[in-house]
Amino acid sequence: MQNVYLAIPLACLAGALVSGLLGKVIGRAGAAAAAILGVAVACALSFVVFHDVMVAGHHFNGPVYTWGVSGGVPMEIGFLIDPLTAIMLVVVTFVSLMVHIYTIGYMHDDSGYQRFFSYIALFTFAMLILVMSNNFLQLFFGWEAVGLVSYLLIGFWYTRDSATFAQLKAFLVNRVGDLGFLLGIAAVFMYFNTLDYRAVFAIAPQFATATMQIVPGVDWQVMTVICLLLFVGAMGKSAQVPLHVWLPDSMEGPTPISALIHAATMVTAGVFMVARMSPLYELSETALSVVLVIGATTAITMALVGVVQNDIKRIVAYSTLSQLGYMMVALGVSAYSVGIFHLMTHAFFKALLFLAAGSVIIAMHHEQDIRKMGGLKKYMPVTFVTAWAGSLALAGIPPFAGFFSKDMIIEAVHYSQLPGSGFAYAAVLAGVFITAFYSFRMLFLVFHGKPRMDDHTKHHLRESPWVVTGPLVLLAIPSFLIGLLTIEPLLFGGYFADALKVLPAHDVVGRISRGYQGLGPFIAHGLQSPPFMLAAAGVLLAWLLYIRYPQLPDRIRARTQPLYDLLLNKYYADEFNDFVFARGARGLGRWFWRIGDVKLIDGMAVNGTARVVGWVAAAVRQVQSGYVYHYAFAMILGVFLLITFFLHR
């Protein structure tokens, strides 16, 4: 089995290397085949591993090779295969495979075809390294590697300034998060003297009450510091407020990567990491509270921004931000399994929505403004039906997948006693309404109503080829069924067992499971509970505003202009960052350079010294006049002084 574990990431790496380095030799079809074959092998093997873990109950934790040793502490590259890893493997490789196939159609006319395949296969490799890790070092490797590939893919069309700006922004914002993450790892290393998960988790409870001083005189709980530092990293990767700013701009990349990286996998790395670190987070209620509040804030604020967007990809992007907030909320109330459950359902329906959006974009000749769409349902039936499935799942309408996971999150928050859970409960409830509203706003504006595009575009409207619609259908199936099928085993059947650790005091899922009486009652209860009513109200409102009374939205906007502007400008976060951080850093740098280096050090100290030497030399030079009587006079004066000195001492 160990060879199988190793083969999963290496198959993807091989695909990436072949399509990247030999792209010219093997041609477009060859590169696509190599990458897809690599990921397909990884996907098949992932299912084998998943089956092995689930049915046979096999786990694995062992090194592959020793990366380095410092101060006697080995740092290894190694794999941990447990239920959490297994489910991530399946989700990552399956969505990735769908995206690979879809890419054949979407990138068909692009000159960077081979390069694109190489990047997405490399991305899959990086994500697999991240989820399969059994130690913090390798986790950071994967962590940064997905950041790198994301950078490369956002700037895939590198001649566009907007794309290269977005890629740089994404990388730097992620790097801010990574700084926190790296410091968290350094803290782990300092206190536990190892980077191996198992060893760290085993010692962690001994540090439950340990404290450290970061600012003299103030005691901080060590576990809180570690968890918060690690969470800063998660805020970067999983785009939580205020490090969320890179994700909407990442839509500059081609659509397939939005589906793969900025919805289904990379952005879930933070969620995965916190779940993986549950034995640490359980020891710090402060950290859990922070996770909860940040998550809830992200969930509600980003959903609100989604309401006013008009770019089809950006709407989906903001819904991703909001849903990531939901996942964080679940983690914050110690419902790690629910967070991972939502991660999984979301991966399917969000990848589906992005790919459906991409299908629409192809048909619309790369027009992304939903105000210029409308009535597409009769031209693109497959995209239309699958987009509906995705939207129903996103809005949380039973029995679609999103209903189960979202309902569980809301229930879990409801049961939580953690500081901030009241706010979080209100936020996630309100979020349900807003989510349903903006996702159906998009759906109605794109597929229903009257066509608003120009005649040329309208004339060329047609359904996308099978390589595009095939993945849509294959993703629509789990978007519909996966919640229904897996909620029992995953949440109430003890699937995760020891992979996730929850202290009895925090065990909200356990409390919910005591009241769980099967799928039927669960759905029936869901239909009567506030979340469903709110979701239905959101859908209804969208229908009223965009189908029934389409003139209303403009009037409402006119009444609420300041609020609308605030949302349209995303709370002015970009402007703030640009002004304070980007300009601030450059201004400070320029000041250090011009004043510090050029004026003070070089101008005064270095060249100043040279100048002083010059002046002294010039003055002294006057004495060397070359006239004998000058020298004679100096000698006589000297003799006279010496005599005076010796006579009078």
Partner: protein
Amino acid sequence: MFINSALSLAIWLPIVGGIAVLATGDDRNAPLARRLSLLIAIASFLATLPLYTGFDIHTAAMQFVEHRVWIPAFNIDYYLGVDGISLLLVLLTSFSTVLVVISAWRVIETRVAQYMAAFLIMEGLMIGVFSALDAILFYVFWEAMLIPMFIIIGVWGGPNRVYATFKFFLYTLLGSVLMLVAFIYLYYQAGQSFDILAFHAVRLGMTEQILIFLAFLMAFAVKVPMWPVHTWLPDAHVEAPTGGSVILAALMLKMGAYGFLRFSLPILPDASHELAWLMIGLSLIAIVYIGLVALVQEDMKKLIAYSSIAHMGFVTLGLFIFNAQGVEGAVVQMISHGFVSGALFLCVGVLYDRLHSRMIADYGGVAERMPVFASFMMLFAMANAGLPGTSGFVGEFLVILGAFQANVWYAVLAGTTLVFGAAYTLWMYKRVIFGAVRHEKVATLEDANGREILFLTLLAAAVLAMGLWPNPFLDIMHVSVENLLKLTAVSKLSP
């Protein structure tokens, strides 16, 4: 026999070879000079390999020791040897020289023999610096080093080369004078011996230690360079020809850090601890302040020069936090910076040879014309930004792990390089390589040729190997670093 004089061979083969290259005469024989230089550079590199294969990683004692009397009147000896730290620097030196010779192949058209000879001679002298165990021998190599570099910048340099060479020469020469005084003082304290290992055992009072530390600091801080004596470096880099920049960044800067390792820390443990705040403070200033300065540079070479200073800040930071992660991280960072900064200067050289400009604004859209080159430069840019999987990560990671143990805030400030390092490197990359082609000249660029691909591939392999599996490098240095930490931990103050 061969193994017994392996170090001498590594030093004198390139020097004698360099003189032989000089003998080929003027530029009519340039092809011969080139071929001969490459031959000698490769032979010299191969000559250093037995040092690696024959090295025993289980002992901290000096290996490949050669000890002969040189000037008996003053007990000055021809005394050589390497430990796990200097061995890596010797290998880096011989490796880099091969690259420089290849990189200069078609680029240098005038006084080819002299150019090549200067680098070969410099290689021998630098290996001398890293393997000398007699303080005067060290000093001779240390100062002799300056001459070929002075000539390289002064003859083949840019328009403002005279200012740059004088600044470089005077800065570094002035710094070294006090070092000689310190050596002479130690000579008497060690019972009239210039043996560096004997210096390690000398007992010294606190005042003496502090004074000697400051004298050493003058010499080494200029070479590293540390803030605020760093301003010679950007000027020297800007004016130096590509090969000069590579050697300057990859090797010469390491001599300063090596000085701290070989002299300041083991000879002056108490002063090192006493003044650690100063060293750490200056290192953190280098990382943060210089990182910000690098951000606003408009000249690619200046930007990389400033980035070098910031990266060397990690080396000095690592040395003065006195733990295994810090020191090992510092040594790894020295080697890695040799690869990465060398590679970046070579990349700028590749562009400069085509367009004769180093200004960022003159480029843009290079990826359209030079995709292969752009891929290589992406790798090196990422290595410079410290991406895991490249050598640039290893040193920074270990130093941050070490710094966190010393003080959380050291790690926080040092960690800002994650953001600043990425910002200045990738922003430059974006403006040079990405975007639409804006200048006519860029539209005519041709992609890297076979010779360029050769040296870029060698460096890429080194960067990746060290990033993915640094253990072989770490293994070599473990025992030596342990020994160094032991020496640093024992107080020399008389009880």
